[in-house]
């Protein structure tokens, strides 16, 4: 037999499954949405980085140009440079003069380089060859070398210079004398790891510098940089490197050099996902706790009144007390309606049972009356014994249920006489011993008849044992004292009282007082003393009872 689950298990399961489903949907939506949001945010970040870079670079270029404009006005530098080339063209320069002039230029350049803090400050002659350099990267600009310079902004000499040992961002100014250029002064920033890191700090993203298609500096991890070197840059906004998706934006595209900024969408998405999951976990914990508490409370408000009702019903069943109505629970309309319906059902059942009992009492009364009617002397005997037994029983404090048994058992106590012949029953004289033996069979016969009717089980001892005596000389079993059921003892006393006060064919009726005296005389031997005492108490009171059988019984004594 399948045992259905408890209500609380069901509400908990339903609530938890619902919460889990909602959370799963929210989780999936969050994950998809988080990645899209991160992608857009990273793109936006790179866009901002580009704008910041552009603005800062513009300011930096402006500063550099201002600085270099001032530097390019250095008279000593220009004088030395112009003297150098004018004289070397005119007559040629002796060695010490050349060294002296070049040193003059170099000294000035070094002083200026210290002021500008550029990677390199270079003086080019009018032919574009390196004449003098200073700065940390001066060695990359060997004298006489003609750097490949791509000028992006011609008026200000801004652009890219590529030398064998590296690429430089340059901005410069012409060295102008009266109305002619005697050379140029260039301020160079080396495109190396340090520059990439500086840009990366500015941009808040990784930076890759590519010169002539070759990655020269990168702040990305080496393996990603390697993958980038193999793949090259696509013209797309995103590119997948080493399994990670990167957002890419060009910061600078100037001649042979390009500077890109990259941001890993996956890395940002991981962070966003972790944050979202943490939030979701917190929400989930709260939701489960709330749902658990809520469904526990719900289950209790449902289950507790039901438990109370079923406890009440169990108690009613145990005590066989069906008349008390179930109290309304006051917790829900449905439960109160259920209790109400139950009460109505019980009322209906009680009423039907009362009807059934009345009907079957009537039938049994009729049967007993029929039996009594066989002998005019015993007419109404059963009714009278029944009424008197109930009086005695009530006097002795017997419960209502047992009184009912007593009433019916007393009514049927002589039913076994159905099997006794009229010759014996109606014999107008003392019975012969074998006739008496025959008569003594009637309790057993009565019990036998009652056994045929299932619900008369409780009444059998009364019928079977109502001729037993406390001294053990009764029949059919010769039981003693307390071995005889109380109901049987009461019926025995009531039976004797009615027999004495009734007329017989062989003797007249005697008075109730005589009967009581005789019963009292045999109390303890023939009759149960407690029952006899009760009888003595109830007989004077019985005049007040409306029971017709009793009226008849007691009225007789006045006759």
């Amino acid at each position: 037999v399948k045992n259905p689950p408890r209500l609380i298990a069901r509400t908990l399961a339903v609530t938890f499954i619902t919460v889990a489903l909602i959370l799963s949907v929210v989780f999936i939506v969050l994950m998809v949405e988080a990645r899209d949001r991160v992608r857009a945010a990273e793109m936006e970040k790179l866009g901002v980085a580009e704008r910041v870079f552009t603005a800062l670079e513009a300011a930096r270029q402006q500063d550099q140009l201002a600085a270099i404009g001032t530097v390019a006005e250095n008279p000593t530098l220009k004088a030395a440079l112009d003297t150098y080339f004018t004289e070397s063209r005119f007559t040629g320069l002796p060695a010490e003069q050349e060294i002296s002039l070049r040193d003059t230029v170099t000294l000035e350049v070094e002083k200026l380089a210290a002021l500008t803090r550029a990677d390199v400050l270079a003086v080019l002659d009018s032919g574009g060859h390196v004449f003098a350099t200073a700065g940390p990267s001066a060695a990359d600009w060997p004298r006489g070398e003609r750097p490949d310079i791509a000028i992006a902004v011609p008026s200000t000499l801004q652009g890219m210079a590529v030398l064998p040992s590296g690429a430089f961002r340059v901005s410069g100014a012409a060295l102008r004398l009266v109305d002619r250029d005697i050379g140029a002064l260039l301020l160079g920033t080396r495109l190396d790891g340090a520059y990439a890191r500086e840009l990366s700090n500015l941009a808040g993203a990784d930076v890759v510098i590519v010169v002539r298609g070759v990655v020269v500096a990168s702040t990305l991890p080496p393996d990603v940089t390697g993958a980038l070197g193999r793949q090259g840059f696509h013209a797309a906004a995103t590119q997948t490197l080493q399994g990670e998706e990167f957002a890419i934006r060009t910061l600078l595209d100037s001649g042979p050099a390009r500077i890109y900024t990259l941001a890993s969408i996956d890395a940002a998405a991981r962070t966003a996902t972790r944050d979202a999951l943490l939030t979701l976990a917190t929400v989930a914990f709260g939701a489960f706790v709330l749902a658990g508490v809520g469904s526990l409370w719900l289950a209790r408000t449902l289950a507790d009144p039901i438990d109370r009702l079923s406890g009440e019903i169990a108690m009613m069943t145990a005590s066989r007390d069906l008349r008390r109505p179930l109290p309304p629970t006051g917790t829900s309309r449905e439960l109160d309606a259920l209790a109400q319906a139950f009460n109505e059902l019980m009322e209906g059942l009680t009423a039907a049972e009362a009807d059934t009992r009345a009907a079957y009492l009537g039938a049994i009364r009729g049967l007993a009356a029929t039996l009594d009617a066989r002998d005019p002397y015993t007419a109404g005997h059963s009714e009278r014994v029944s009424a008197l037994s109930v009086l005695i029983g009530r006097q002795m404090g017997i419960g209502e249920t047992e009184l009912e048994v007593l009433r019916l058992g007393a009514l049927l106590h002589d039913i076994g006489k159905v099997g006794i012949s009229d010759q014996i029953l109606r014999k107008p004289g003392p019975l012969l011993p074998d006739e008496f033996e025959h008569l003594k069979r009637h309790p057993g016969l009565g019990a036998h008849i009652l056994r045929q009717v299932p619900f008369l089980g409780p009444h059998i001892p009364i019928v079977e044992l109502h001729h037993e005596r406390p001294d053990g000389r009764g029949y059919p079993f010769g039981l003693r004292g307390d071995d005889i059921p109380l109901a049987a003892r009461i019926v025995h006393v009531a039976d004797a009282f009615d027999a004495i006060t009734s007329a017989r064919a062989y003797r007249p009726a005697r008075s109730a007082t005589e009967a009581l005296a005789e019963l009292h005389a045999y109390s303890g031997t023939q009759f149960d003393p407690a029952s006899v005492d009760a009888l003595l108490t109830v007989v004077p009171l019985a005049t007040a009872t409306p029971e017709p059988a009793l009226q008849e019984l007691l009225g007789r004594q006045t006759v």
Partner: protein, 224 residues
Amino acid sequence: MRSGVLLVSLWASAVPWTVDPAAQQEAVVRGRVEIGVPITARRPSSAYPTRSVPAPALAPASERRHVVVYLRDAPRQPVAPMRVALRQRDESFVPRVVAVTVGSEVDFPNEDPIYHNVFSLSRAKTFNLGRYPRGETRGVRFDVPGVVKVFCEIHSHMSATVMVFDHPWFATPDDAGRFELARVPVGDRQITAWHERLGDTTLNVRIESGRPVSADFTLPVPQQ
């Protein structure tokens, strides 16, 4: 106005007569200097030169005065010193180029309402006259032949050239570009026109006694 600025005091008559009188073999060289601008000569990028020729915008006539024509590898001659003024006016040296004989004195009068400085790093004469105000004049004597670049330490864009010769065969063209070198000794000679931006341009001429020689320059000569 500009012609008045140049104070070369009749250098031709000032040259002493020192050439060997026995030879008397000399001739005058006359010519014109023309300056074609732009200076950048476009090189043909293919076998067939491009048909589009940049319009030859000529430099202003005054630019011709910044040319010095002289006899190259001339024998050293005793020459009379000169006195020339190189003014500082409107933050520039006027004239920008002067040619003088060895031993000449050049004055640098400051005619601007601001301080100026005059200095040179050149081998022929290295000097620094310091800073001085309007109205003041400081001078330098040039005793060594050669080219001397003159600058102002305060105004880095100012520049002038003093060419010092130890012979008399040099000239500065007039506004029309005409010049004349008198009494050039006979023989195969080289006449050079020097310009601070365009460099040297040299013509080979044969000087024959008593016959005037014509030497016309067009600067710049495209580089080979």
